[in-house]
Amino acid sequence: MPEDIEIRLLLDAIYLRYHYDFRSYSAASIKRRLAAAKTQLNAETLSALQERVLREPQVFTRLLQFLTVGVSDMFRDPSFFRVLREKVVPELRTYPSIRIWIAGCSTGEELYSFAILLREEGLLDRTTLYATDINPEALRKAEQGLYPIDRLQAFTENHQLSGSKCSLSEYYTAAYGSAAFDRTLRKNVVFSDHSLATDSVFAEVQLVSCRNVLIYFDRSLQDRALGLMKDSLCRRGFLGLGSKESLMFSAHVGSFRDFVASERWFQRC
């Protein structure tokens, strides 16, 4: 198929020109995302899009939004957060200071879910959260902490199901159709540009959450990313993955043991 060749060439071009490496992303998803980008950016073919991407950085910036942004809900899979609250937090409490890495934080929904839960459990003040992503636009949004008000109902339901005794509305103020989350939630957050495909370990942490990011990677890139998480985690540190992600097909399966496997919580051996 000519389209498959065009995809390879475009991803090579992006890597050579901008050093963003999508070459080991899951091909099926990349194909859909590029098809959407092609239509939205009014390109006749992917080759035509490639020509513009090479010469116009602003076109690449727009393409990057198609290639990377995953929309998530706050407290997505409430049972995952229930295990965080009931099983993982008691272990985190034993550390005088806590460091947590939200890898691939996108527009911040997962980050604020963690920050809110940690505040409710009285740990936020002694926690540093590293929120990383490759998309500067997404990081900027995460740093703003503004979400369309129509998404808050789903967030609120999830938050309740995660075992909270408070209302989510305590953490935001609504204005002009948006919910602005309490800025003190991100007081101890370090927002940073970091690529699981090309960068290396930057801190030792007791918990890594990386949910629904690995599904976009092929197996070799998954192994690279999981290797970074493994090397970042202290002994007995925790790894949380998305509900369809597992270590089963990974080279690093031996470095972790199940903590609550049904909710995709693993622990570094």
Binding site: M1, S26, A27, A28, S29, K31, R32, R33, G70, V71, S72, R76, A154, E157, N158, N212, L214, I215, Y216, R219, Q222, G242, S243, K244, E245, S246, M248, F249
Partner: protein, 200 residues
């Protein structure tokens, strides 16, 4: 009712993909028990589900089917002998190396999982060695994917709209994909039995 050509194509298929929405449980109840324990090819099913709770479909169908019924994990090989259900709140895709992939990209046709997403990725992988079935449903998800499967030379089967609990999905698929076969559920069950039975 089945021409020799279509029968040959059914027997040459290497995967069967099925999409259903409103009325899905009842329709699949008539169809999936036709898949034998040692099915020759994998069967992959997308049913539209509410996003905020786990799918109960594997539990519902496990006791009624001879074949193993389950949800795939990311990167799991698409092996025959199983009926694979898409989980809630993810799109399910197939990769060229014949493994499963997932995405949390925006809903397509207001649905995640979307039938079109599965069908289009399956068409890329299996081309003319693919059979798809569009069943009852109240929107037009599946029509675009079925038409792509048809273009790539695959076999498209659509439930007879008059026999469907919700006609819109079969009607859209018929209008858009020009299916080789339009049939009732008992007839489709026979086709599934033929496509999936182990080689003698």
């Amino acid at each position: 009712m089945l021409s020799r050509d279509l029968e040959q194509q059914l027997l040459a298929s290497e995967a069967l993909v099925i999409g259903a929405s409103a009325g899905a449980i009842e329709a699949l109840n008539r169809l999936l028990p036709a898949v034998p324990e040692a099915a020759r090819i994998p069967v992959v099913v997308v049913v539209h589900l509410p996003p905020n709770r786990p799918s109960l479909l594997p539990e519902v169908f496990a006791s009624r089917c001879a074949a193993l019924v389950r949800e795939p994990e990311d990167k799991q090989p698409i092996t025959p002998g199983s009926i694979w259900f898409a989980p809630s709140n993810y799109h399910l895709l197939l990769e060229a190396d014949r493994s499963f992939a997932f995405s949390t990209d925006l809903p397509v046709n207001f649905s995640r999982p979307s039938i079109d997403v599965l069908f289009e990725s399956a068409a890329d992988v299996f081309a003319d060695r693919l059979c798809c079935i569009v069943l009852t449903g109240a929107n037009d998800d599946g029509a675009r994917g079925a038409s792509m499967i048809r273009e790539r030379g695959g076999l498209v089967i659509v439930q007879n709209p008059d026999s469907a609990e919700a006609k819109e999905m079969p009607n859209s698929a018929i209008a858009r994909a020009n299916p080789q076969i339009v049939a009732t559920l008992p007839e489709i069950a026979d086709l599934i039995r033929l496509a999936t039975r182990a080689a003698p």
